[in-house]
């Protein structure tokens, strides 16, 4: 902003310190100084000093004023001194006018500038902030209902969206320190460079709060890796979609649910983070049902599927830690999941018996005779976890037990065995086959404290044509 040489002082009438310094301003002008007084609220204040009316706050915004009164000394178009509040010694020094503050207190703190009133920064940024937002603007017709308009433009997953206005997007972007123009990921299927800003727009539409944005950004990054293969996941006829599991301090900080109904509805963070990821894939990547998405059935988790692991009460290390990150790291893990199959075991008191229940229910993921092709995630509730804790079983111990139990003779699994045409190739008849590939079974701890249940999230294909779970640290 262009400031005239001399002194510019920003004031507001409702600030007692600004009232106090009026005599000093009068003296400054009487001394012949080039003084510009800029008023934020009452154009008539200060009387007699011919202030400029900045009730629209453009000048205050552009000068970055945070406190009133603020005095700027300008020489050759450059600000050489900035004084916030009233400190007699400083004002006299900078203005070079001895006795400027005669009769006035030595100091007075000043007040907040109107530019920092609640909600004002985003509004002013939207009004004067120029083009930090680079996305195309979509102007709606004045008779259009904004919710119908978004739906008719194809932006929705079928549920209503929050309109992504400039102000909402700017507010969302405050949730991250990353630059809005930074490219987060290249999103399939259209292979579009997706910026922080585009993620923020979809996060607004999903209903996220700004403090969820870092988790959404990390989920998008993780989903768009080659290993996770979100393109393949989208294009498959199988029911799976991305599942986001959150670990670390950020989960609690943003109010995620890892307890009762963690995989269900009712928690805004869980619901909107998963949804934002889906909207990015749909809107930025161009992947939608009827288009690239060819799922035969899909599953309700394709609207949103995101939860936090219950770490405080867990007998085991966090999923992210098991997968290689340092303890206490905030992280997301992306898993290709196809819905929830709960399992009930209310009688097992020993870990051996409970593990057998788990194995019996895990064997049937996708099909009991199909092995090594599908992954799964086992969600152990606190009540079941207690059985393992009391027996001193680590997660590795449980896994070892399950590995032993999830083996079947090939003869049972081959095509035609048991009168079922489906199965593994006949060449495997003589082998003993594990249900899951190494690393194909993830185990997490979540759920309510009442319920002797666990839940199996069936996965998708693994390996080269499938998806590999991906864990990424959350960067704020």
């Amino acid at each position: 902003m262009d400031l005239p040489d001399g002194y510019t002082v920003f004031v507001k009438a409702t600030c007692p310190t600004c009232q106090t310094v009026v005599p000093a301003l009068t003296r400054l002008r009487e001394q012949g100084a080039d003084l510009t007084v800029i008023t934020q609220d009452d154009p008539g204040f200060p009387a007699g000093l011919h202030p400029l009316d900045d009730t629209e706050l453009r000048r205050s915004y552009e000068a970055g004023v945070e406190i009133v009164p603020t005095l700027l000394r300008v020489e050759g178009g450059r600000v050489t001194d900035t004084l916030c509040g009233w400190l007699r010694a400083d004002w006299e020094r900078v203005t070079g006018v001895a006795g400027l503050g005669e009769g006035l207190p030595e100091h007075s703190a000043g007040c907040g500038s109107r530019t920092l009133d609640p909600g004002m920064p985003e509004r002013l940024a939207a009004r004067y902030g120029g083009d930090i937002l680079r996305s195309r603007r979509v102007e709606l017709g004045e008779l259009e209902d904004v919710f119908e308009a978004m739906d008719q433009r194809g932006w929705s997953d079928g549920l209503p969206l929050v309109p992504p206005t400039r102000e909402r997007v700017l507010r969302m972007l405050e949730g991250t320190s990353r630059d809005p123009s930074e490219v987060v990921a290249v999103v399939p299927p259209d292979l579009v460079e997706c910026t922080v800003e585009k993620v923020a727009i979809n996060a607004v539409m999903a209903g996220c709060r700004p403090d969820y944005l870092p988790v959404v950004l990390t989920a998008v990054e993780a989903a768009c890796t080659d290993e996770f293969n979100v393109h393949g996941l989208l294009a498959t006829t199988w029911a799976a979609g991305p599942v986001v599991v959150v670990n670390g301090p950020i989960a609690e900080r943003i109010g995620m649910n890892s307890g009762g109904n963690a995989l269900g509805q009712g928690n805004r963070a869980n619901a909107t983070i998963g949804r934002a990821l889906q909207l990015v894939v749909r809107n930025v990547g161009g992947g939608r049902p009827g288009g690239v998405d060819r799922a035969a059935h899909g599953n309700p988790g394709k609207y949103t599927f995101c939860f936090a692991e219950a770490e405080r009460s867990s007998p085991w290390e966090a999923l992210a830690v098991e997968r290689g990150l340092p303890a206490g790291t905030s992280a997301v893990t992306l898993f290709a999941g196809s819905g929830v199959q709960p399992l009930s075991d209310q009688l097992s008191r020993t870990p051996e018996s409970l593990a057998r229940s788990y194995a019996a229910c895990l064997q049937v993921v996708a099909h009991p005779k199909l092995v090594l092709t599908w992954d799964a995630m086992l969600v152990v509730s606190p009540e079941h976890a207690r059985v393992f804790r009391e027996a001193g079983w680590s997660k590795a111990r449980l896994r070892e037990e399950l590995d032993g139990l999830l083996r079947r003779p090939g003869a049972e699994l081959v095509r035609g065995a048991g009168g079922i045409a489906e199965g593994v190739p006949e060449s495997l008849a003589g082998a003993e086959l594990p249900k899951f590939r190494p690393g194909g079974l993830l185990i997490v701890h979540a759920g309510g404290t009442a319920g002797l249940f666990a839940a199996i999230i069936g996965g998708w294909a693994s390996g080269a044509v499938g998806s590999e779970p991906v864990t990424r640290e959350v960067r704020e």
């Binding site: 979509v138 004045e142 727009i201 161009g286």
Partner: protein
């Protein structure tokens, strides 16, 4: 009412204006609905369009709004949308 401006959540590879629905290559073999909005003389206009279409072998179904002062009722719109492949709405003056 002020216009609302939204930020585009998409990759921006499609134009922003809402495109019209895809058109068929030809009307032959299709059913065309003629919707009379009930202003005077519109029926004569549509009668002639019906003759022209029928002489080409295009099937025509005739519809009429109860009154031109209000939008077509939902069940009329629904019926048109399921029984017709295209529609001509006439004649506003």
């Amino acid at each position: 009412m002020t216009t609302i401006e939204l930020l585009d959540p998409t990759s921006e590879r499609q134009p922003v204006t809402r495109e019209r629905v895809a058109r068929p290559a030809t009307l032959e073999g299709l059913t065309v609905g003629l919707l009379d909005i009930s202003k005077p003389r519109g029926d004569v206009f549509l009668d002639r369009l019906e003759e022209l279409l029928s002489s080409r072998g295009v099937e025509v179904l005739r519809y009429r709004k109860p009154t031109f002062t209000k939008p077509a009722p939902a069940d009329l719109r629904y019926e048109i949308s399921v029984r017709c492949d295209a529609v001509v709405e006439a004649l506003a003056d």
